[in-house]
Amino acid sequence: MKSKSHIADTHKYNFNYENRVVLKNSGIIDPENIEEYIGVGGYKAWEKVLTQMKPMEVVEEVKVSGLLGRGGAAFPAGLKWSFTAPLKAEQKYIVINADEGEPGTFKDRLIMEGDPHKLLEGTMIAAYAVGASKSYIYIRGEYTLCISRLKKAIVQANEYGILGENIFDSGFNHEIEIKIGAGAYVCGEETALIESMEGNRGTPRSKPPFPGVEGAWHKPTVVNNVETIANVSAIINNGADWYKTLGVEGCYGTKVYTIMGDVELPGLCEAEMGTSLRTIINKYGGGMKNGKQFKAALVGGAAGVFLSNEMLDVKMDFNTLKEYEAVLGSGAILVMNEDVDIVEMLWSVIRFFRHESCGKCNPCSNGTTVLYNLIDKIRKGKGKEADLDELIRISEAMFLTSFCALGQSPLMPIKSAINNFKEDFLTKIK
């Protein structure tokens, strides 16, 4: 820890507000006061869509902006909306996935705590675009501050006539309700989330039918991540062309990262898509803690990838990382210094999967246990080199045969850990 006078001398700490889209108001306005949100231009986009835009124009604008889902899978948001918007149904729903179960990810939490009205505004715009009269925010129960601030925000929006019936004489009705989850990792998967929301055990459904056609209570349902939706009002206000000036070709806008581990300044930041890992660690994370050497970063949480120093200058965006068999995932960045043992880290990741596997399908429930036994053996110094191949072989089989993304996920961290940090494993084996 540096002395306080050092901080005062340099003033080097910077909250980097200049590039922010999603977190522009967080840390500036009072999240519990709707008038402060309105004062910084809040609900302007809502007014614009209600008074000047047809629903399909809203879908088109978001589609053209190229906004990709920020929950990890990077599915184009506008495209998702375009499946549901034209459907004729007596009821459609928007569901906001605020389950945020990926270890080390707390971006959605800070968006909701810092600027709950931004999430509400985006949700309403999505609802208008696809013709949904009801939205649910599915949020994990641990997020008590988010829940209370969102509840307050919903009450205020109703009082101001921003939500409710015949909003601003447009003839559009909308209602937002909060559903509280019990903190199962699998409920971040959209169909498991819907099951849980309906009051059932949270296990995934078979797809198709996709939720966009048949989701909550078998009605067309758009499920979007918090960060994705928090981008929408800025896109409507400033236009898709403006949005495409941020980020890189094919992957526009910004990304909210949570930086933790062996860095000087852990926390969160928002950087343009395509910013390198080196820049994120040095500029936003304050560099390595105590002058230690960088060894690895686990990017994207447990379902993420272990990156070595060779990847420090690679552009961080969904497409570029895919070329390197890596993922951006949820945007969690766990930085590890030279003292960290990757075997221990991988053990912890696999233990997590074993604990969170929902038990619905055999490849995942048995696979995660077999993987755990293997890594535990290696960790205890009883492993063989062939066990490394076995870890990859089993996680590949799980990738091909598991019912949902949970069982497909261990492959990424396992493969990247073994390929990029083989020395750590061999040390334990010999």
Partner: protein, 121 residues
């Protein structure tokens, strides 16, 4: 229930309130009340500030809260916003430090250099 026109008026009014504009307030103190801020004692800091403002009867000071700015290790974070002056962000604030900020910065106009994280125009 508000009409769109009323909403626009709130927008104009609120914009001024944030920059202090025509209101009677001289200083706005904003405490970062996100999860990491609260975990590191922001509620106690907030309480100390409100108490100190009341004891000193500082009627031209308003105290509000905000979410997280991003640097968790600098929490609790306190902003001091004054018209025509750079916004000062203090970091790692404790109730004692908060009382010192009120005494030195808010009352006597002397910025407490030791606690500064950033200064923005």
């Amino acid at each position: 229930m508000k009409t769109l026109d009323e909403l626009r008026k709130i927008r104009e009014k609120s914009q001024q309130k944030i920059t202090l504009g025509e209101s009677n307030n001289r200083v706005k103190i904003v405490v970062g009340m996100g999860t990491s801020g609260i975990a590191l004692g922001a509620r106690e800091v907030m309480k100390a500030i409100i108490e100190e403002v009341a004891i000193r009867n500082l009627t031209d000071v308003i105290v509000t809260q905000t979410g997280e700015k991003g640097l968790s290790s600098m929490e609790p974070v306190v902003d001091v916003i004054e018209d025509g002056k750079p916004t000062i962000t203090y970091g790692n604030i404790t109730p004692e430090k908060a009382r010192k900020i009120i005494a030195e910065h808010i009352v006597n106009g002397k910025i407490v250099n030791d606690f500064i994280v950033t200064m923005l125009n």
